[in-house]
């Protein structure tokens, strides 16, 4: 039950280890978050007491599993303030949810000459599905570009979103730049022009309060594993009236009302979109992760991360050989910080930081068009979560300094 934000050490056993003989500073949270004991315990408890397949069963275990699975749906519903629990579809992850929308709503509503508007900072998962849909349907894919400050250029958004636009798809928070995009305003713009808006919540839901009704997004996808849930579970939120009009995505058990040799009647939402046995234990443990986050409070989570960014960002920017991408102002920056060190390749930097116990990511972060727009091939990315500490931040800064020296010594 520990959930005091200032003493979480007991909840995350994985953080209490050494790598390469050094204390681990896990700063790869944008890739995946660590799981508190409570979440792992809920997996164990399910498998040791209640494991059964859901919905189809009348026996006691099946009933327990079904109740817990549907409880998890309601927890997620309240967490993002959806109007109805039937608007919550469990998916395999954010990518699965975004593909679902492109393959059903997109397939049905995009025609020759229509336009789809995304942003240049999209993760491949919110980019390629739309790009391929546009290619297939002879529609036009347009990119909202960056402002000089490394944020979304809203003037450009107003230009790009027109009456030809049918779908706008934008990340709520960038997984590279550390920016938060004005999703509510984009939703207003999209709706003004009769388009729908798809929000990619992979980097927002774990880190800040999210209210899908207030944002007025039509669809909103995110992953469990980035918010301390297990891998293999995610959520797609969709407005009920849209979901009801859409064809199913996959066909199989659980999603039907009646099957005949030559035709099938499909079930109501959300089941229409949950074909086959779902990640039952994963959904239930995601519910536990939601409980954990709510116990701490999303405002607290966001505040703690802001505090860490306030501490680390100026220290990074003060290093003359470090370039930070995205906004320079800590107040405008989430816990995701992409940077480069003069002349050093991010891969070499990440290997060096790992040798110092600091886990960061190097590469294009599944955002190659953004890399091209920034004029780089790759960056190093440190990403913080609320369980990180000032000690982690210091370890990062010191490791960067040591890396600089190591390669200088190596005359690179």
């Amino acid at each position: 039950m520990a959930s005091n934000i200032n003493d979480l050490s007991n909840d995350f056993p994985i953080l209490d280890q050494q790598v390469n003989g050094e204390r681990l500073a896990y700063l790869d949270n944008a890739a995946t978050a660590q799981k508190p004991r409570q979440v792992v315990d809920s997996l164990v408890h399910f498998y040791e007491h209640d494991n059964a397949n859901v919905h189809r069963g009348v026996h006691t275990l099946a009933e327990r599993a079904t109740t817990q699975y549907e409880e998890a749906r309601k927890k997620v519903q309240h967490f993002i303030n959806a109007a109805d629990n039937r608007e919550i579809i469990f998916t395999k992850g954010c990518t699965d949810g975004l593909n679902l929308v492109a393959s059903t709503y997109g397939e049905q509503n995009i025609h020759d000459g229509d336009e789809i508007v995304i942003s240049i900072m999209e993760h491949h998962s919110n980019l390629i599905p739309w790009q391929q849909l546009a290619i297939k349907k002879h529609a036009k894919l347009k990119y909202i570009e960056l402002s000089p400050e490394g944020t979304l250029d809203m003037a450009d958004a107003e230009q790009k979103i027109t009456d030809k636009t049918k779908i706008v798809a934008v990340a709520h928070a960038s997984n590279v730049l550390g920016t938060i995009n004005p999703l509510k305003e984009l939703a207003r713009l999209a709706h003004q022009h009769g388009a729908i808006i798809v929000g990619d919540g992979a980097q927002s839901v774990p880190h800040m309060p999210v209210d899908v009704q207030d944002l007025d997004v039509d669809f909103y996808a995110f992953s469990g594993h980035k918010m301390m849930g297990p891998t293999g579970i995610g959520v797609l939120y969709g407005k009920a009236d849209l979901l009801r009009e859409m064809p199913p995505y996959q066909y199989g058990g659980e999603m039907i009302s009646a099957v005949y040799r030559d035709r099938t009647e499909f079930a109501d939402i959300p089941f229409k979109f949950e074909a086959g046995t779902q990640n039952i234990a994963g959904a239930i443990a995601l519910g536990t992760a939601v409980d954990y986050l709510e116990r701490i409070g999303m405002n607290q989570v966001a505040a703690k991360e802001q505090e860490l960014v306030n501490y680390v960002l100026p220290r990074l920017e003060a290093l003359p050989y470090v370039t930070v991408y995205g906004p320079q102002d800590p107040q405008a920056h989430t816990g995701v910080i992409a940077f480069n060190m003069d002349k050093l390749h991010p891969h070499d930097v990440a290997t060096a930081l790992d040798a110092e116990g600091v886990a960061v990511r190097a590469g294009h972060h599944c955002a190659q068009p953004l890399m091209a727009a920034l004029g780089v091939d790759a960056t190093t990315r440190a990403s913080f979560y609320f369980y990180n500490t000032q000690e982690d931040a210091d370890q990062l800064i010191n490791a960067i300094k040591a890396t600089k020296e190591f390669f200088n010594g190596g005359t690179i």
Partner: protein
């Protein structure tokens, strides 16, 4: 505990309705018909209602299903026959609310007649759908728009 646990669920009046169903027949002149499937088990209920001047003049059902769904359909038809559509819809709401654990006044419950006995279903969450399916079919039949034919 074992099977004795089931005495509440399979009370005599329920078994009686299941074995000697009331109003289990089609109504050719019905003003509205509705077929509903229980996707968990494949059961089907067809409800036919004949509404005249806002009142359920006649109602019948057909289909196959378990003891609970058959008994519930039988009790449902008994309970709503002769009622106004508004009254019937209110009863359907009482029944489904009850099935999801919401409280209702004693007066509302008494309206349901025999059907209120199925509150015992509450102890068997996996079987709640069996009891509600006929009330749901009724509701859909009464609210049905012309282009709806079948619903889950």
């Amino acid at each position: 505990m074992g099977l004795s646990k089931l005495n509440g669920l399979y009370r005599e009046v329920i078994l009686d309705h299941a074995n000697h169903p009331h109003n289990k027949h089609d109504i050719p002149e019905a003003t509205s018909k509705m077929t509903v499937h229980n996707p968990t088990c494949g059961d089907t209920i067809n409800v036919a209602v004949d509404v005249e001047d806002g009142r359920i003049k006649d109602i019948g059902y057909s289909g196959s299903g378990c003891t609970i769904s058959q008994a519930s359909a039988s009790m449902m038809t008994e309970a709503v026959k002769g009622k106004t559509t508004d009254e019937a819809l209110a009863m359907a709401k009482t029944f489904s609310d009850m099935a999801i654990g919401k409280q209702h006044s004693q007066a509302d419950l008494e309206q349901l007649g025999d059907a209120q006995i199925l509150t015992s279903i509450m102890e068997f969450p996996a079987r709640i759908k069996c009891a509600t399916i006929s009330w749901w079919a009724l509701q859909r039949a009464l609210l049905k728009t012309d282009d709806e034919e079948e619903e889950q």
